[in-house]
Every structure is written in C-alpha cells, then in structure tokens.
C-alpha cells in the first residue's frame, strides 16, 4: 500500500508541474506555431517573382491545369487540423476557442516529426452539415484533412461524407490514430503472450470514436472474438438502443453472445481494451480474466485501472495513454507519417487496410519487444519514414 500511495502522490505532483510549465511555455511563446516565408522579399525583383506581376502567370497555369496547384503552392504539403471543440482530449465539449492549444500542439508535432505543414481550423459550429460544408469550402488550399476531437457519433458521418465528397485524404485521428497504435500494441502483446489472433478473447470497453475504430481494425486484422461494452453494459442483439456502428461491430464478431455488464464480459478474457472512463476496471475484475491478461487502460489522463494495480492483480502487459508509464498508446506514432505518405500520393483516400498495414509494420519494427516495450519510441526517427512508406505502398 505504501508503494502505491507514493506513486499516486508522484503522479499528482508531476501533473501539477506540467500544468504550470505548460501555461508558462504557452505564454512565453504566444502559441506554438508560426507561419514563415520560404522566399526572400528584399527588393522589387523578389516581390515581382513572389507576388505581382509574376505570380499572375502561376495563377494562369493553375487555371490551365488544376493539378499544378500541388506543384506551385503550399497545398502539396499542408494539412488542415479541423475540430469543432466538441470532445477536446478527455475534457469534453470546450468549444472552438479553448480547443486551439491542442490543435496548435498537433500542428507543431506534424512539422517537427514529419515536416508536414499543418494549420488549426477550429470551427465555431457543431452542426454536422455545417461542418461538412465548411470543410469542403476550405479544402482547396489543403492536401489533406485531419479531423480532431469531434464527438461521436457525428464524427463517423462527417468523416464518411468528406471521404466521399472530397478528393483529398481525410482521417479522424481520434479514431484511426488511436486504433492503429492499439492494434500495433496488441499484435506485439499477443506475440509475447503466445496467443494466435484467432484464439484471443478480447473485451473492448467504450464504443465511442476510438472504440469503434479500434474494433473495426481488430476485426479487419482477424481478431474476431470481441465482446463490446458501452456505458449500459454488454452490447447484444436484444438491446434496442444500438447505433448503426454498434450493430455492424456485433455482426462482425464471433464472440459468444452474452448479456450483462462489464463484470460479466471480462470473465475469462485474455485482453481488456479500455477507451472509456477512469476507474471502471477493478482488481477483482482483472483477477477474473484468463491468466496473465493483457490490459490496455487508455482513458486519459486517469486510466480505467492504474498500471500498478493491474500488475498486482496478475496482469502480464499493461499499456496506458500516459507518457509517465511504459507502453504509451500515443497516436503521434501514426498521424505524422500517415499524412506524409498520403501527401506524396496526392488524391488517394485512407481506408481500413492502410491502417492495418501500418500496425503490422510498426509492430514488426520493435525488434526488442518485452512486456515493458511493445511499441516503438515516438522519438525514433525511423517511425515516420516507415509509416509514410507503408502508406505509399
């Protein structure tokens, strides 16, 4: 108990320090990104080439052949990070203005990790049709659309419609970034646990944006024995409150059809994937699982169960969404390289297969896997190249 208590205190202190340090950093720098010129503008000749009159010829060329916008403008390398502020981190519906620091941070990561230019588009509307319309109107200057922190179920329709109605790639990162890294971690966990994907019994708790996408990728990969739980318990055919997405997942799963709560679902399972709420998994529930269970406790910042508690209860591998524990499920492993690859390709669209292939490539990339290291480091310079190349193949 003393050990657990100490660790908890340590986390509270760390959290506090980052808060103040984050405020200081943001205030000192007045934000995190800036827009700079790549060309010199020191004299009239410079201006005549970069601006009038020379720029008119560049415009005329794009009128003649619209594909030249990719050659002559920022479009080729620029992604919009689009949010409506309805599901900001784990903080909920904060609105557009308060979501800016997250989107700006993401833009900084895009550039630092992958050399991709990204700009925050924080929309002052939460209406599905208006968001779709606004993104389509904005699209000309961008080579890709990263949807971010838009709440379920609206995020599904927005992504699906934009993929159909735009020619540039569209990806909701809360879905596919999280899902791809989770699948990566699971592939390596099953290797260590010496379980085939056909035999693994998986429970996913939390069927929001990330939960639905994770379930879809696991099914695509061939992990079919999945029991799904939402806030009302196990998802089963006798419930009359299921969304289109939940019904589809149920149809794809081969798990024994049970009714009940998460407590019932978890018994005998090999894998728990939590994308739900703090403290929804108890030590007793972990003890009721198959031996040496795999626990992905991904609620942020406070997980479904603390890693030390899971380990005490027999967990073999634990992953969280936090940077202060081993095995952080962090979508920064995927989105920078995924867009970098797509921008190289031009007008192609993301699909499930791409993300499954990225997960397989990333899992193979970790040559020294152990229970404390099931994922590559996001600071490994090879990761972005690997993901980008996988997308391009």
């Amino acid at each position: 108990m003393a050990l657990v208590y100490t660790i908890k205190i340590k986390h509270i202190i760390m959290q506090h320090d980052y808060n103040q340090e984050a405020l200081d950093l943001h205030k000192k720098n007045k934000g995190k990104i800036e827009i700079i010129s790549k060309v010199r503008l020191d004299n009239k000749d410079d201006l005549s080439r970069a601006y009038t009159p020379g720029v008119a010829e560049v415009c005329r060329e794009i009128v003649r052949d619209s594909s030249l916008a990719r050659e002559y403008t920022l479009k080729r390398n620029t992604v919009a990070i689009v949010t409506d502020g309805s599901a900001v981190l784990g903080l909920g519906n904060l609105g557009a203005l308060a979501s800016i620091p997250v989107m700006e941070g993401k833009a900084a990561i895009f550039k630092e990790f992958a050399g991709v230019d990204a700009f925050p588009i924080c929309l002052d509307t939460q209406d599905t049709e208006e968001i779709i319309k606004a993104v389509k109107q904005l699209a000309p200057v961008f080579g890709g659309i990263n949807l971010e922190d838009i709440s379920a179920p609206r995020c599904f329709e927005i992504e699906e419609r934009l993929r159909k109605e735009l020619s540039i790639p569209v990806m909701h990162d809360d879905q596919w970034g999280a899902a791809t890294v989770t699948l990566t971690a699971l592939i390596n966990s099953l290797k260590l646990r010496e379980l085939n994907k056909e035999d693994a019994r998986v429970v996913i708790s939390g069927i929001g944006a990330a939960g639905v996408a994770t379930a879809r990728l696991l099914l695509s990969y061939g992990i079919k024995n999945i029991t799904f739980c939402d806030s009302k318990g196990i998802i089963h055919n006798n419930r009359n409150d299921l969304t289109k997405e939940k019904k589809e997942l149920l149809d794809g799963s081969t798990a024994e059809r049970k009714e009940g709560t998460l407590v019932d679902a978890i018994k005998g399972a090999h894998v728990f994937i939590g994308l739900s709420k703090p403290k929804t998994l108890t030590k007793e529930m972990v003890r009721s699982m198959a031996e040496r269970p795999i626990i992905f406790s991904l609620a942020n910042p406070e997980p479904e169960i603390l890693p030390e508690e899971a380990k005490e209860s027999g967990a073999f591998i634990v992953a969280t969404g936090r940077s202060d524990y081993p095995n952080q499920i962090n979508n920064s492993l995927v989105f920078p390289g995924a867009f970098k690859g797509m921008l190289e390709l031009g007008d192609k669209q993301f699909n499930n297969d791409v993300f499954v292939k990225i997960a397989i490539a990333l899992s193979d990339y970790v040559t020294d896997i152990s229970a404390e290291k099931i994922l590559p480091s996001m600071f490994d310079k090879g990761v972005v190249e690997l993901v980008s190349k996988t997308v391009q193949e």
Copy 2:
C-alpha cells in the same frame, strides 16, 4: 516614337522574364510559406508541456477566461487572408484553387514586412451568405480577417456584415489598402502641384471595390470635388442603374453635376484616378485637363495610359500600380502595418478615419518629395512601424 516603342518592348521582355522566374521560384520552393513550430519537441517532457497532458490546463484556462486565447495561442498574431477567387489581381474570376499563389504571396509579405502570421483561406464558394458564414465559423483561431480579391459589389456587404458580426478587425485590402496608398500619393501630389484639397477637381474612373473605397477616403479627407465615372460614363442622378454605394458617393460630392462620358468628365480636371481598364485614357484626354495634371493610372498590369504617353501629353505627376515605374501605388505599404497595429489592440474595428490618418502619416513620412517620389519605399523598415503606431493611436 522610337523611344516609346523601345520602352514598350522592354516592358514586354521584363514581363516575360518575371513570368518564367515566378514559375521557377514557385516550383522550386513548392509554394512560398511554411508552418513551423516555435517550441522544441525532442523528448517526453517537451511533449507533456506542448501537448498532453500539460496542454489540457491551457484549454481549461481559456474556458475560464476567453480573452486568454490571445495570450496562449497563435490567435494574437494571426490573420486569415480570405478570398473566393472571384477577382484575382486583374485576371478576373479564377476560382479558389488558382488564387492560392496570390494569397500565399500576401502571407509571405505579412511575415517578412510586419512579423504577422497569415494563412490563405481560399473558399470554394462565391455566395455572399456562405462566405460570411464560413468566415464567422473560422474566426476563433484568427486575430484579424484580411478579405482579398472578392469582386464588387459583394465585397461591400461581406465586409460590412463581418465588421458588425465579428469582434476581430476585418479589412478588404483591395478597397482600403489601395485607397489609403492612393490618398497618400494624392496628398503629396497636391503639395507639389500647390493645390488645396478644397480646390482640386478630381475624376475617378472605375467604381469597383478600390474605386468606391478611394472615393470614400478622399471625401472623408476633405477632397469633395469628385466626378465619378463607371463603364457607362459619368455617374449622375438621372441614371436609374446606380448601386447604393454609387448613390452615396454622389451625395457626398460637390462636383458640378454633368452628364456624359469620361471624355466630358476629364475636361479641366486637375487629377485623374484610374481604377478601371487598360487604355481608357488617351493623350488627347490628358491634354484636355487643367495644366500640369496629376495622373494615377492604376489598372494592372496594363494601365489606363502608359506613363511615357501621359508625360508627353503634359502630365506633371504619374503613378501606376507597377513596380517598374516610379510612384508605385502598392498596398503593401499599408496592410502589414495596419494589421500589426490592430492585432496589438485586440478587439477593435477598422474605419475610414483610421485609413485617412494612415495616409496623412505616410505622406508626411516622405521628406524628399518630388514628382518621381510621392510615396515612401515599401522596403523602408520605418513604414510598418509608422502605420502600426498610427493605428494604435
């Protein structure tokens, strides 16, 4: 004739060179701006401050006090350059995609001249209400809106409505940038010509976006004797095709009420301001003006009359929109500093008075005025500071 012919050939050659050089520059650099991170992201601590978990506290602070978005994010220093591509340079309605090079060039100027971050928003709609709605939805992340290359008369309503419905400053640069520099040039021209503003007889040809704004600023400054001409000739009360804007201008002018064409309007005038079409002013028309007339021949790239032709016909001072003649009326003298000043102030709005004050300050700034130098150089580092300070006062 030989001299004129040579000069024309020279212009054709220069134009050609800039075109190819502009294409080369754009292709080599793949556009002209990039988005970079102002913070290091080398390790987990860096990410914990710039992104999760630390960024959550920055979001929470903005929820508590929305004015902190200016302290903690890019909003403080970032301007949207918004166009619908309906009136790109003098090239007409090219649409959103082909307008990108111009907006990107403008963003480069914003940064290089004033340190302001600016991002191109090239909207794939030309509907007035949809543009207004899109800009309002986009506004949270920006500290100001620079409307650009939107055709008249829609540009008037879009600017007016956005100024009322947004708290951040909004300026249509084709109107106010052009108008402010024109007034600056005119103030100094009248000094050299030794004419009082009350006595100057002015003809403005072309009552589009720039023409309307120029007329409004001249009237605000106290130059009241203005005859307005559009493509149908002199604007007068007996015409039944006048827009709201044209009627207002007519009401504000003290010029003798004439009917007829530009040929009739120009007789005896001291000043011609052309914001219309190439070759609409002939040598004969210049000779019919008052002696030593002032000719602002601002159609771009080909002016209403070439400077050498105007001079041959007795013009005292000639200005154009071109960088290859003296006295270039270039709105780069105004917009970088105007937005820099407004961003410092926060939630204030542009109005006519601000632009008149900028024009007076800029005209006073040229201490060595001559017929060949009625404007400051846009490469003079003092210009942005002067304009910014004038706005803040």
